[in-house]
């Protein structure tokens, strides 16, 4: 499912002393199945933008089209929009409330009208997709699970609505390295298997370099960069000025470049960085 955002503008606290232009003339387009990452300092408008995409917030002006449906058209039924565009908030485990895992995961699909066998199937599939053992957790109370498991239940709850687009706001926040890897793997799996268009909001440039096809950079409400990870992360200076970092491997290569000017610092992963260092050194030996 493609997304087209045209000239989106949004102000919050209109008329009050703390009125802020949260989004200013934001436009971009994503192809079906594309994996886009959204980065920006805290307050840059990333979360606000995500909430516009599934209709939780309405823009002052501009248009959002998901597939064939114009989300910003007021005549559109919100439940349909919310089904199409799934949004997983930060620390989603804080929204769990049902008596059992299965019931909680079923909440979303029920709200959009799924029933009976279809509902059961969708609940089971989503739970399995997140890597949890369905038989083991389905009857358990979500409150007795570990933090990492709870998070997966929350994600399953959104997946169960069968969205065409999945937005994840810092899905690895607060997780230890092992759970972090698991969630990243889960996202990769979802992207590959369901071919969903994915939007990932994150501070972790390393993760983004690894997973994203495209990077959108937000700064003070404006979309200032839109390109592939290689393109965006080659612009270290402007990113640094916006308070953003680079993937750790790229960061290292930039420092190395000060001492070895001929080297190609635009490496996104450790493997690529190592290869480039070897290549450069071999070249120098000749």
């Amino acid at each position: 499912m493609s997304i087209t955002v045209e000239n989106l503008t949004y102000t919050y606290s209109k008329g009050l002393p703390n009125e802020t232009r949260a989004l200013e003339d934001v436009s971009f387009q994503l192809e079906p199945g594309e994996f886009a990452a959204v980065i920006g300092h805290t307050g840059s408008g990333k979360s606000t933008l995500m909430q516009q995409l599934n209709g939780l917030l309405r823009p002052d002006s501009g248009k959002i089209t998901v597939g064939e449906v114009c989300i910003t058209d007021p005549s559109n039924k919100m439940t349909e929009v919310r089904r199409k565009v799934g949004l997983v908030f930060q620390y989603p485990e804080y929204q769990l409330f049902e008596e059992t895992v299965a019931k909680d995961v079923a909440f979303g699909p029920k709200q959009v009208g799924m029933t009976g066998e279809e509902l059961d199937r969708v609940v089971e599939e989503s739970i399995r997709l997140t890597g949890l053992d369905y038989e083991e957790v389905k009857e358990r109370s979500p409150f007795e699970l570990s933090g990492g498991q709870k998070r997966r239940v929350a994600i399953a709850g959104v997946l169960a609505m069968k969205p065409e687009i999945l937005i994840l706001d810092e899905p690895t926040a607060g997780l230890d390295p092992s759970a972090h890897r698991d969630v990243l793997e889960l996202i990769r799996r979802i992207h590959r298997k369901e071919r969903m268009t994915i939007l990932l909001v994150s501070h972790n440039m390393g993760d983004i370099a690894e997973l994203a096809d495209r990077v959108l950079v937000m700064n003070r409400g404006k979309l200032v960069m839109n390109g592939t990870p290689a393109e965006v992360f080659s612009r270290g200076e402007p990113l640094w000025e916006m308070g953003l970092g680079l993937p750790p491997a790229t960061e290292f290569m930039e420092r190395l470049k000060d001492r070895m000017p001929g080297i190609d610092a635009a490496q996104l992963s450790i493997e690529d960085a190592a290869k480039e260092i070897c290549r450069y050194l071999k070249g120098r030996k000749k």
Binding site: H41, T42, E139, R140, E144, S146, G147, G148, A173, G174, D176, P177, S178, A179, H180, R181, H203, G206, G243, G245, P248, A249, E251, F252, R255, L256, R259, M260, I270, E271, A273, A274, K275, I277, C278, L281, R284
Partner: protein, 282 residues
């Protein structure tokens, strides 16, 4: 010299009831022994469930051992008479910045600790101002906490601990819920506190943070698996993998270069050292 912290055979066990109703005993900490001399910067590294947070709570008597003993400056945590002394010697900063702040005004929150100790009001004022300046939040002293960022809130929590003039501060995953900027601010303060002579115990799952300590204690399944300077730990590829933790970027890069056949020394651990090592190979 008496070590500031002495832990002997510490075991902490509690009962877990499974969904089916069977009760089992779970050892969160299993026979841990170590000492910390005054002024040391110790990082305790481990995955979730390794027992590191449970261990931390024994260091100021929030938890008492099921077996074994914990001595803070020679005082046993089991003794009620000493508990307030112990807690003012060992301060603690927790993971969630929000849930540590008691008051709706920053400076009042920092004053909470000294107020509990019955410190003279004028002295409290002095300590609060000093603590806020030490963490760089003096300008925000009259603000309400909900107006602050995560990193700023955590700095307030640290100021609250500092105001009690502890000899040691235990940081229980202080950066886990912060963004990169907040993490940086907090680590900065931790370093400065250590330089000022305060014993620092940093509980973390971030390798990069642990590398900055004088000493590294790695925990797994309630036990200590490694207890050595970070330099020695990170020079040992197998140890890192055994601990099941994420390799810091520099170490991972070093290992990859070694794998590709470059003669990089295993003792290389920091960015500067790696850059230097690579340049030497030209």
């Amino acid at each position: 010299m008496e070590p500031i912290i002495r832990v002997e055979n510490l075991t902490f066990e509690y009962r877990k009831v499974s969904p089916e109703g069977t009760a089992t005993s779970f050892r969160a900490v299993d026979g841990v022994t170590f000492e910390v001399p005054s002024g040391e910067f110790v990082a305790v590294l481990g995955m979730n469930g390794s027992g590191k947070s449970t261990l931390a709570k024994h260091l100021n008597g929030l938890l008492l051992p099921t077996e074994g003993e914990v001595w803070i400056e020679g005082m046993n945590t089991r003794e009620d008479d000493h508990i307030w002394n112990i807690r003012s010697t060992v301060g603690m900063v927790f993971q969630n910045p929000d849930n540590q702040i008691v008051s709706s005004v920053v400076e009042d929150d920092v004053a909470f600790g000294p107020e509990n100790l019955g410190v003279d009001p004028a002295e409290i004022r002095r300590r609060v101002d000093e603590a806020l300046q030490a963490v760089g939040m003096y300008e925000q002293r009259l603000k309400a906490p909900h107006m602050l960022s995560g990193g700023q809130k955590q700095r307030i929590a640290i100021a609250g601990a500092i105001a009690m003039r502890p000899k040691c501060i235990v940081f229980d995953e202080p950066t886990a819920m912060l963004d990169p900027k907040g993490r940086h601010q907090v680590m900065d303060i931790i370093h400065r506190l250590h330089e000022a002579g305060i014993t620092v115990i940093l509980i973390t799952h971030f390798m990069e943070e642990a590398m900055q300590a004088d000493r590294l204690i790695v925990m797994k399944d309630g036990r200590i698996t490694d207890d050595m300077p970070p330099r020695d730990f990170f020079a040992d590829r197998e140890r890192i993998q055994c601990a099941g933790l994420e390799m810091p970027t520099i170490i991972a890069l070093r290992e990859e270069l070694i794998r590709l056949g470059l003669p990089v020394d295993a003792s290389v651990q920091t960015e500067e050292e790696l850059i230097e090592a690579i340049c030497q190979l030209q």
